[in-house]
Chain length 209, copies 2
DNA sequence: ATTCAAATACCTAATTATAGGTATATGATA
DNA sequence: TATCATATACCTATAATTAGGTATTTGAAT
């Protein structure tokens, strides 16, 4: 259930920042860190196997692109989430070609990072909402899709009721809908947010709504 | 499940303050307000029946003590929670004699008020921790007891894990305890806080811990 | 020495949540 | 007009929570 993460970046301060964000989050544990791609490979060889590798693109010794190619070949079940500065859009495309499953900018906030990790673990792709247009274009060409984690009106309404402690049956009566419908919305919320439990939803809602 | 409350006070500003606090709380709805005891009786006669009546002691036309006596006689299922200023300890004792089930001072904070309401609904008594000594003495004489909502170490530990989204089974494995033990702690937390659901606990914890 | 809080463990039953589906109707939009 | 997002509804099965008990052990306090 817990998402295990390895962080790779040649700036220790940045690693510490991400670790700090993730340490406060349910279901996400940082199990390793590295200052370049080669160190990530060594962690993997020592059976430190994460669910997601959060990696910078430009690093000394072995960069994120080479790392991602090796991982795509030898550890295909691992998801790579690329981190980049705004000015590295060309590198980002290379990362995606190499097999990265998502991309966030380095000024990512907590909720976005958490969403990204959950999304990747589910097997979907995740991209920052504010990603440069040429990357969007590339993805449309490549027949991929950009996730949006926007809830619909109904879903938002139901999320609020969940936070208030209502059960599916109570919501169904209140909204004059079938319990089945409520549960369907609930499942769609789970899918969109990448959060599978009621307690997680309350956490998310209180922190982000 | 939702706790319905009527607020009675001759100061509208104070009613508004309490309403504002309660409106932000799960499972508590303000269904009526009154500026004196007689207005409360009229609400009850119009089938506006709350679970708890939050009432000032000194009010014009009909004070909280007379109100409480009438309620104790004609609506014994309703709980009366007395509100008072610090300087009205004699009145408070009269309220309790009249049948009030709890007492909070007017500088009550949100968490205390919510605990008080939950506690009364359960059928227990609630008294502000900082209540004057002569009232404590009176209660010891009268063989009542003062609730404390302090969680033990283990309970606090488990509450935190619940907030993190762990299930009973996960916690049992993590702490090397029986699932039965976890569930017992969980039930004791429910009892102490007067909150019966997981989502409610997460709400409580994020707001008060 | 006895009482008491805290922590532990077990049992049963009912309710709720989670997860995997499928399916239909509608209104917007490409 | 054909597709897509949204909202609706149903079905089954398993997991988890909630609620009602009882009971034992241990360490601290009266």
């Amino acid at each position: 259930m817990t998402i295990k993460v390895i962080i790779a970046d040649d700036h220790q301060l940045f690693i510490d920042g991400i670790k700090s964000i993730l340490s406060k989050t349910i279901d996400i544990d940082t199990i390793g860190e590295a200052s370049n791609g080669l160190q990530v490979i060594k962690l993997l060889e020592n059976d430190i196997i994460p669910d997601v590798i959060l990696t910078d693109i430009r690093m000394p010794i072995m960069d994120g692109i080479s790392l991602t190619k090796i991982i795509s070949k030898n550890y295909p079940q691992l998801k790579v989430l690329a981190l980049s500065m705004f000015d590295q859009t060309i590198d980002v495309i290379e990362m995606l070609e190499a097999g990265a499953k998502g991309y966030v900018t380095k000024n990512v906030d907590k909720s976005e990072l958490v969403s990204a990790l959950h999304t990747l673990v589910k097997g979907d792709y995740f991209f920052s909402a504010n990603l440069p247009e040429n990357i969007q274009d590339w993805f449309q060409k490549e027949n991929k899709y950009v996730k949006d984690t926007q809830l619909t009106k109904r879903e938002t309404e139901i999320l609020h009721l969940i936070v208030k402690g209502r059960t599916s049956l109570q919501m169904a009566k209140h909204l004059k809908l079938s319990k089945y419908t409520i549960d369907t919305h609930r499942k769609n919320i789970h899918k969109k947010l990448g959060i599978k439990s009621n307690t997680g939803l309350v956490n998310y809602a209180l922190k982000h709504l």
